[in-house]
Subunit: 674 residues, 2 copies
């Protein structure tokens, strides 16, 4: 048994090396994700620490790199060695109804620390326990009776696991709720809820501990809900024209281990089972200084809070923290070549520890591609010089790193886009299936009560909800010590008759000294928000900086003292800035399932620490209020939102002025083959 | 002479037919732009209406289609004929210091109306008069003396024409101001202003009427300002990798005259010398109703207001209305294949009436291309069904219509993007060159006074300014009568202990009855803004609608009674809705040069007309506050902003569920040739 799993692991490891590390110039980067071998070693060490007879209840809920100190990484990067850096793992496990935290020294194969977590909240759910839990009702007599009572077919029932949140109650059990669906001639289960049944499962005991069948509501019809091409009835259409991107010189980027080099950018890309893609040590080449300069030490999703807005019995608790409760990384979808990513994409695999601690491979977890979208990097036509016409224009190109995570019904397309101009665009695309509630109504005219959503088709309400994605961005603008500056645009009135103008606006800059001064509700006051390095200035005397350019913004509308809002208090502001603290990674807290909101960005920030000329972390929230509409049925066309980090006096001048345009090419003799 | 110009015209006309109208199924669409023949006919008729001996001072400032009544167009479209529809031209001319307006019947070759405009404001500037005016200083002795005094080289001087605005003065002359630049070893004139000189030109008399040399300020150095590739000193870079899009079946769209058909969209594209691209009668195919349904009757830029924020002597008046004062259409740049538009783009030419009334051809004024940017139209991976893994995903594709307009220093990339899901994305990209002011300073530490901008390099201030683009969108959501609905998201408190939740939000919808109820400042209150057809409902009972999804927003910060703000009062709100009125096209007024703000969107709206269930027009403003930074020097990397119109219960269900994905193709045997 041990032999078999080792040889399987070895095979995976070989593939891993072959796929993404063909010509690595270093043995291991200090920020590399744990390799399958390291994951397995962690498992062995953790397992061996328990009495050997008794490890059947041991489950792994998070295993990831225990991030080395920033100072160590910086000095290692200044002088990288072929010798691997010290490597540590953080493992979070459940054993005998307790949450254990381990720090493992991988080189010495030893336990550095071991701790039982006794606070509120539980770790990220495992996939096995959910799979096991959702089968429980199918053998549970009262449920079978409920299904029979409704005239439904038990073999068409599929249940799904939902975290329960916290609403002030005292509870010391790790529980989830189940909702079941009648998946009749469709794979689109989420649109066919069996309403009126409350099922609570104790995960540690793996049994149903509460069951209430409250009321019967018709299950919506399954007709027209299946989204598979093979199930579509004619007429089909419209038809997408065939197209492919051809790059005669191959991709313009190189992948060396986890390091990606492209044009003027170099960054490290790793995979984490909780947050998905992590961009580290992103630097950009400065043509004047002839060196790479740091922009982002580490950036990733910190949490995704999705509060539904239906306060009634079976829905009030639906206030999910998708990243911390379910795990963005362990719920990824393997990307499908040619449709999830274009034909010129290169793919990378990822690994995480499964519930038993063994490495699980996610093939094609990332794709990386150059986007040639037909945009313009910069241009000018000069029409003002007599007898001369000048046109200079450069086509835009960008590098996209993509991962897709699927938390039950919703698909989240996470894109990091790098531009030669120094911009980083961070985008999320939402697709997938609405969370709906079944109803007796068959026409909106019948509805005289509050239904907490949009009536989207017969017997179906698409529930109101929000998507709040918090990004943790440990920016290092040409160095570690940075400041957060609000360049407020202030209207000025002219009263001294020196000018025919009565007014203008100017910039009144304000450096945030402490955390409270950096909490921003966007959209209310005009301001440019800049992360600057106050210690380094351009030749002209401007501090090096990067601007935050927000997209559309939204904030939580819940009462501040409402339980979900206490747990998701980071949604009160769009922007936060904190001093760097290695332990402050997840805006909703480390143990967010059933958390009481004691370990959140809002709580950390209450200390109102100093942030001026410090190592600071920028937290930005993408917020989307979602009022469903019929077009979201049965599968939602992608809705995108995002933000941009853009150089602001970081360079002496445009870093793309001297960009070398591609040679104009005409293609000939191409033939298509299937 | 007459012969020569006729034969030249004929040649142009033949080319026109050949280029964009190869297989037209109709003779002429009622919304087609004036053909070169029609432009020339208009010129002849207008010219003949004046005493023949005296037409040397006759100049043409606008000639365009006099739009037929909407009811006529709609009935024509319902039953198109091969017979051309009646065609009328609107011509605005200057003759003997007067502004004349003509409506011409082109079929009958007759004048329908002729009118002398006696109100405030002047028509769009002509190119010839600007070219003539900017030469005046070079032969003007005091200016030559000023240049000599500054030790500059007269042969390197290039001047540029600037509209003067209106600041409460009484003036009955058509004047502009000139600013001159010392274009020393560069083509980047705008970065090298010769400061301290005021030059006022009377355009009708074509002479300098005021000249003041107030002070000497050093001209910034020209070194490093040239943006041409041929002038860049090594090291160059980074290098853009070669890439091209291949479409084995050719483009997926057809151009038939001015009608463009692509996937489920059909729309009309025309060119106007004032506003540039005009999208008309855009309809989308509804697979359930098996017919095309109307979305947008007519959409185009209405005005671009660019107020600079420097109230001092030589800068206070810089409050430009780029569309109405200079003309987006007559200042377009011919698009450069492979760099302004991708290799799979198709180009169209445009024509406008030059200052003498003769047609001027702009080759490649539009490009149209399918964007395959690597995005995802929709997707879902189903992980929740035991023992089954389902992944369905469709690649995104969109159709882009692009024009670039260049008003002196700034380049505006105007994109209309259509998606199969029904979305229309309207984007503007800003590139080009900053408007700067020369200064004595060589380091920002020296600056102890307000300089109204960012010190971006030696002797150079990049001035604060705004870009406010007003779009006029005559939406027709499946019919002419529409309403504007604010779906306000309102927080509700739960107090009756029926639920553990304390709060949620819900939608409280509000239909704007009159214009004042539809003026919106975005970002202050959460709401979904929808144009709906209250007369037509989905089977579920929801009104057909389209949502407006704003991008980043900004509004003018000027005092309401400041003169530029009176003229550009449309910048006080991001959204306005008016009842359809054929004459209300340009948010800053028809005669915006030196206007007094009496003919603007803000004034029209004061009547507070009814807009509920009427033929309504949506006005959306893209707003960008621009605090320059060093990266904007010497040429600004594109900064983009925009907004989306997206179906909201317009369809019964997702219109792209049954989209036919492209066959996966692998390309072989391609060879590149230069």
């Amino acid at each position: 048994m041990a032999m078999a799993s080792t040889s399987k692991l070895f095979f995976i490891f070989v593939l891993f090396i072959f796929r993404i590390d063909p010509n690595s110039s270093y043995e291991q980067h200090p920020l590399d994700p744990l390799s399958p071998e390291e994951l397995d070693l962690t498992r062995t060490i953790v397992k061996d620490s328990f009495p050997s007879s008794n490890t059947t209840t041991l489950t792994f809920h998070y295993v990831g790199l225990d991030e080395p100190d920033k100072s160590f990484v910086r000095s290692w990067l200044a002088k990288p060695t072929k010798t691997p850096p010290p490597r540590r793992a953080l493992a979070i496990t459940r054993f005998n109804k307790q949450t254990h935290e381990f720090i493992i020294d991988l080189a010495n194969r030893s336990i550095i620390s071991k701790n039982v977590y006794a606070g509120y909240g539980y770790p990220t759910l495992g996939s096995d326990e959910q799979t096991e839990a959702i089968q429980l009702p199918l053998k549970y007599e009262p449920f079978i009776e409920s299904i029979r009572n409704r005239g439904l077919n038990l073999s068409a029932i599929v249940c799904s696991a939902f975290t329960v949140g916290w609403f002030g109650e005292i509870r010391n059990r790790r529980v989830i709720k189940l909702q079941c669906f009648h998946m009749n001639n469709t794979v689109n289960l989420y649109l066919l809820p069996v309403e009126g049944i409350k099922i609570v499962v104790d995960l540690d005991e793996m049994k149903i501990i509460e069951y209430i069948d409250r009321e019967k509501v018709p299950v919506p019809k399954s007709e027209g809900t299946d989204y598979r091409l093979s199930k579509q009835k004619p007429p089909l259409g419209p038809r997408i024209n065939q197209a492919a991107t051809i790059q005669p010189d191959g991709p313009g980027f190189q992948i060396d281990g986890h390091i990606i080099r492209w044009m003027n950018w170099v960054f490290h890309l790793s995979f984490d089972s909780r947050v998905g893609p992590v961009i580290s040590v992103a630097t950009i080449y400065d043509p004047e200084k002839q060196k790479h300069r740091s922009v982002l030490y580490r950036g990733h999703i910190s949490e995704l809070f999705v509060p539904y807005q239906d306060p009634t019995e079976e829905y009030y608790f639906k206030t999910f923290f998708d990243s911390g409760e379910f795990g963005f990384g362990q719920n990824t979808a393997s990307l499908v070549p040619l449709v999830d990513c274009p034909n010129n994409a290169v793919f990378m695999d990822g690994y995480y520890a499964g519930p038993n601690g063994q490495p699980v491979k996610v093939p094609n977890v990332f794709c990386i591609f150059e986007r040639h979208a037909g945009d313009i990097m910069w241009r000018h036509t000069e029409l003002g010089i007599p007898d001369e016409l000048i046109t200079e224009t450069r086509p835009e190109v960008s590098l996209v790193v993509r991962m897709v995570t699927v938390i039950s019904n919703y698909d989240h397309i996470l894109d990091w886009e790098f531009k030669p101009s120094g911009s980083i665009n961070i985008q999320v695309g939402l697709s997938g299936i609405l969370e709906v509630k079944a109803t007796k109504y068959t026409h909106s005219d019948q509805i005289k009560e509050e239904v907490y959503g949009t009536f989207i088709t017969d017997n179906t309400i698409g529930l109101h909800h929000d998507h709040f994605l918090s990004y943790r961005l440990d920016v290092d603008i040409d160095g570690v010590e940075n400041s957060f500056i609000k360049h407020n645009l202030v209207a000025k009135t002219v009263t001294d008759n020196t000018t025919p103008r009565k007014s203008y606006w100017t910039v009144v800059s304000e450096t945030a000294k402490t955390e409270s001064e950096a909490k921003i509700r966007l959209g209310l006051e005009p301001a440019e928000l800049v992360i600057a390095n106050p210690n380094k200035k351009t030749k002209s005397g401007n501090s090096y900086g990067y601007r935050l350019i927000p997209g559309a913004t939204a904030r939580s509308l819940l009462l501040e003292d409402d339980y979900p809002q206490i747990r998701g208090a980071f949604t009160k502001y769009n922007v936060w800035v904190t001093p760097y603290n290695k332990s402050e990674k997840w805006a909703g807290g480390r143990y967010v399932d059933q958390s009481h909101g004691q370990d959140t960005l809002a709580v950390w920030s209450r200390r109102n620490r100093e942030i001026d000329n410090k190592d600071i972390v920028l937290w930005y929230m993408i917020g989307i209020h979602h009022v469903p509409c019929q077009e979201d049925f049965p599968l939602m066309p992608t809705l995108s939102s995002g933000f941009e980090l853009r150089p602001f006096n970081f360079f002496e001048r445009s870093p793309v002025l001297k960009v070398i345009p591609p040679k104009p090419i005409t293609w000939a003799n191409c033939s298509a083959s299937l």
